[in-house]
């Protein structure tokens, strides 16, 4: 910020756009430095929205037994979902682990082929090996119900959004809110409306899992080329025929990808649902967390990872097969297909009959159980003992040189200057629209009455995103350039993406204490895998001959990366930045549990104390505002770069 000197602030009408951003920053810094007083929106702004939320919450609490909304709407939904889940749970108990494993493997075999059938069998057996058979089955049932209901609602809405621009425009911001609003913020409302237990856990999961189903279905429908659609029109097809005969079949692959994303979203909600008494693996993680038992939490997390890997690989393979099948027109020969169906039926029969022969076969044999709790605990203890010196130095250094200055700049400058400064930055990065969105979102944060918290959180998120990008580019370039590194690291990245953050909360606390930096570290662990993958993808998509010609003209590896590969992958880097910010933002609430303060703590506090329920919800919305602001700025940066180049 101080690199520039003051004489670079000319009033010239045609000054170079490159200077505009530093100029804004310097001006902002000067205002902060020679401050116009440090007092800034006393009490954080107006509180009427928080009070209003609290009143709604209390009205709902009081009206549960009398209001028709509850008697005819919320209560039946909760009751139906609850009974579906409990009957499915007793079904899994009756089938035993062999039955479930048989059925799951057979389904994978049918939709995704032999290899994935085997993968499913191994995955399902691993639940028992980790000693979490019963918990895994409880989780499985809730995930299946949540995903099924999400698709039931999401796919038709997605089709609608795909064919109607009007509906698409209405639904997009709603989906944004559903995906960014931290679950913690609305969890108290869910328990108010749908009570506690597996049913409300499922409903909380659905709120988060429906958006990808809608989005990808709509995207699939829109992807179908206009030429094809017009051709069907010219053949006299009705709108309905066009949809069912042309658009839906051609969008199938993208829709199956939506199923995949819905499943992943549902899996990421397991631990959160456990906070409102949904049983299963999430409950194991929480119960280990309160005992600070890193090993037990990791063990349960590993079972979640196994489940996620099975779901992910099988649905991905299924989506590829759907496409291949539709292109080749059912190339698989009659015989192999019969063989697959036969084998699947055989597997199911075997799995179901075994416990029938001997009831003791229904439970997973004890001798096969080998949990990971103890080894993980020893590693965690050793690490804490020997690394603490280095990690606490890191905490102090980063806080002193990065977090404190940035936070002070955001919090101790008068708020109109902050709003103006950020809006100008957005303008120079992406144009008028993101500038307006930025100003609007910041005014929203003020309206929520949570200005200081918002600025604390914004500072943490920006620094978290910066670190995520550093890690993402470092590893992403490595993975993008080396196949071997990719194959070695990718499984770890996959695991990192689905491992519940509550598992690494305690290790983070152990190494970095209860600080704002700890919140950032937790966010890094969560956000880096996705960013690394996107950067690697970008590096790989640089045409090989471009890279080769750079090498042949005498560039060394470093020059090739910096001068050729990274600049050419700029589009993907911006996508990575955008995703990185959204992922870091998703961890704001988790940060609130480890000392990060800010909006995350406000949300946690709102969940813990009903008098602050209004503030918690408002803080959740403030997070949404920050999210939309950062998302629009980074997206517009991608667009404007592309158009100017």
């Amino acid at each position: 910020m101080t690199i520039l000197t003051a004489d670079l602030v000319p009033s010239s009408r045609r000054f170079d756009r490159r200077w505009s951003i530093p100029v804004v920053l310097v001006a902002w810094w000067l205002v902060w430095r020679f401050g116009f007083g440090t007092h800034n929106l006393p009490n954080g702004g107006p509180t009427f929205i928080q009070d209003w939320f609290l009143r709604i919450r209390n009205a709902a609490d009081a009206g549960r037994d009398s209001s028709p909304l509850f008697i005819y709407f919320f209560n039946p939904i909760a009751k139906t979902t609850g009974s579906v889940i409990s009957s499915m749970m007793s079904l899994t108990t009756n089938l035993g682990w062999t039955g479930i494993t048989g059925i799951a493997s057979a389904i994978s075999l049918w939709v995704a082929g032999w290899r994935h059938g085997l993968l499913t069998a191994v995955g399902f057996i691993s639940f028992g090996v980790l000693g979490l058979e019963a918990e895994s089955m409880q989780t499985l049932v809730q995930i299946i119900v949540a995903v099924f209901l999400s698709l039931l609602i999401g796919i038709p809405l997605g089709v609608w959004a795909g064919v109607s621009n009007g509906f698409s425009r209405v639904v997009t911001p709603v989906l944004d809110i559903m995906q960014i609003l931290p679950t913690f913020a609305y969890l108290p409302l869910i328990t108010l409306f749908f009570l506690i237990g597996p049913a409300s856990g499922t409903i909380a999961t659905m709120i988060y899992a429906i958006p990808p189903a809608i989005r990808l279905t709509a995207a699939g429908i829109r992807e179908v080329s206009t030429a094809t659609v017009e051709a069907s029109e010219s053949l006299g097809a009705t709108k309905w025929q066009r949809l069912t005969d042309v658009q839906l079949p051609m969008a199938k692959r993208t829709i199956v990808l939506g199923v995949n994303q819905t499943m992943m979203a549902a899996l990421s909600m397991i631990t959160i649902a456990a906070l409102i008494a949904a049983p299963g693996l999430g409950a194991s993680v929480i119960s280990a967390l309160i005992k600070l038992d890193v090993g037990a939490a990791f063990n349960a997390g590993l079972a979640i990872v196994c489940m996620a890997i099975v779901f992910d690989r099988v649905t991905t393979a299924a989506s590829v097969r759907t496409e291949r099948a539709s292109r080749a027109g059912g190339a698989a020969s009659q015989r192999t297909r019969l063989l697959r169906y036969g084998a699947g039926i055989g597997l199911i029969a075997l799995g179901v009959i075994l416990p029938g022969i001997n009831r003791s076969l229904a439970t997973f044999p004890d001798r096969w159980v080998h949990g990971t709790r103890n080894p993980v605990n020893s590693v965690a203890n050793w690490t804490q003992l020997h690394w603490y010196g280095a990690t606490s130095w890191l905490t102090t250094t980063v806080t002193h040189w990065l977090i404190d200055p940035l936070q002070s700049l955001l919090s101790n400058t008068p708020w109109p200057v902050v709003v103006l400064g950020l809006a100008l930055l957005a303008y120079f990065v992406g144009g008028l629209r993101p500038a307006i969105v930025t100003a609007g979102c910041l005014m929203g944060a003020i309206l929520m009455g949570l200005w200081p918290s918002s600025m604390t959180t914004l500072a943490s998120v920006l620094i978290g995103a910066l670190f995520t990008m550093i890690i993402g580019i470092g590893f992403g370039v490595w993975l993008g350039r080396s196949r071997m590194a990719d194959q070695l690291i990718r499984p770890i990245l996959d695991a990192g993406q689905v491992m519940p953050p509550f598992v690494y909360l305690v290790p983070c606390l152990a190494l970095f204490g209860a600080t704002r930096f700890t919140g950032i570290v937790a966010a890094l662990v969560y956000a880096s895998p996705a960013v690394i993958k996107i950067v690697a993808e970008g590096i790989r998509s640089v045409p090989a001959n471009t890279t080769e010609s750079a090498i042949s003209s005498g560039s060394n590896s470093w020059q090739t990366i910096v001068k050729v590969q990274l600049p050419m992958a700029r589009g993907m880097l911006l996508v990575a930045l955008n995703q990185g910010i959204i992922f870091v933002l998703a961890m704001v609430v988790v940060g609130g549990l480890v000392g990060a303060g800010g909006l995350g703590f406000d949300v946690v506090n709102g969940f813990a104390q009903s008098v602050f329920a209004g503030t918690g919800l408002a803080a959740g919305l403030a997070i949404v505002f920050l999210g939309i602001m950062l998302d629009r700025i980074t997206q517009s940066a991608g667009r404007s770069r592309r158009t100017t180049d």
Partner: protein, 328 residues
């Protein structure tokens, strides 16, 4: 085992029959049946809230173990937060909270206004809230445990979060705290830093003990972690009634919290013998710490820990069966 269970079931059935007949005659005899005769009604289902700290889990472990094995109840345990548990009284999803720490606002809402819950008396544990330092600090700086000397030592407690002042670390936001008001009232050069969870507190204490780092923190007993981690309490000016009236500034210690049980009114009137047991449930901080320690540190399941404690302390829990109709 199975034989005993079926015998008990048969006995219960027989008793129910007898009692139904009795009830048909005069309505009040059931309530006044002496404890020595057989149980009044089958137990049915008991929904117990399991709030997320290990001491509470110990309460649930022992009570549900006795309910299941001695009275044949079906016990549903819901792992939920304190706040959400109270909501459960209204919806019928929670019958019992076994360890309530004050919560005046919830008492007003659900006991006084909505009348869905009722206070079921002390459960014996004394909740102590206060400021603590790791034991090594009290050894090295013997006068640090007096609040008047805290300012002298504030530089020891400076962290990256405390803005140059001494740090006072708080934990889970749902726990009762006056710390900011205390710092103002006692004119201390400290700043409250909110850890955000109990895990943040205990992990910080573990680190401070293991690495001999300074730490001043809000903490409470009974607390399982204190079995392994030694701490010293900082004495604050003693509590007097009304000294905590000003929420902005206070100059006195936390009062002791007699922990109590809260139950759903409709369940309390159900006549289940489980109601008597819950009403009689009462034990000491030591009892709870023992069970909590087994659950948290010795890797026992709740039932194993409960069984071990039950086997070792028959005189304590046998008293809880008064009025259930069962003399174990």
């Amino acid at each position: 085992m199975r034989r005993m269970a079926s015998l008990r079931a048969a006995a219960l059935l027989a008793c129910t029959g007898v009692l139904l007949a009795a009830c048909a005659g005069t309505s009040n005899t059931a309530a006044s049946t002496p404890a020595t005769s057989s149980s009044a009604k089958p137990c049915g289902t008991v929904n117990i809230a399991d709030n997320p700290w290990v001491g509470y889990e110990a309460d649930v472990a022992v009570v549900s173990y006795l309910l299941k094995t001695k009275l044949g109840c079906t016990v549903n345990i819901s792992k939920i937060d304190e706040q959400v548990s109270w909501q459960g009284f209204g919806t019928g999803q929670v019958d019992v909270i076994l360890e309530n720490w004050g919560h005046a606002d919830l008492v007003t809402k659900y006991i006084t206004t909505q009348k869905v819950a009722q206070d079921f008396g002390s459960q014996g544990n004394q909740g102590i809230i206060g400021w603590y330092v790791p034991a090594w600090m009290a050894t090295k700086y013997p006068d640090i445990t007096n609040w008047q000397n805290l300012n002298k030592y504030s530089s020891l407690f400076v962290t990256s979060e405390s803005g140059g002042k001494g740090q006072l670390l708080d934990g889970d936001p749902s726990y009762v705290t006056n710390d900011a008001a205390l710092i103002t009232g006692l004119k201390l050069n400290y700043k409250v830093v909110v850890g955000g969870s109990e895990a943040a507190l205990i992990k910080s204490l573990q680190t401070a003990t293991q690495q001999t780092k300074a730490l001043l923190f809000y903490f409470y007993e009974p607390q399982w972690a204190l079995a392994n981690l030694k701490v010293a309490r900082v004495t604050l000016p003693p509590y007097t009634a009304g000294c905590d009236a000003n929420p902005k500034s206070m100059a006195c210690d936390y009062p002791p919290y007699p922990l109590n049980k809260v139950v759903r009114v409709a369940w309390a009137n159900s006549g289940s013998p489980a109601v008597n047991l819950v009403q009689n449930f009462k034990w000491t901080n030591d009892d709870q710490n023992k069970v909590a320690e087994m659950i948290a540190n010795e890797n026992m399941t709740d039932d194993q820990a409960a069984q071990k404690w039950v086997d070792a302390n028959p005189t304590v829990w046998k008293a809880w069966f008064a009025g259930t109709g069962l003399t174990p």
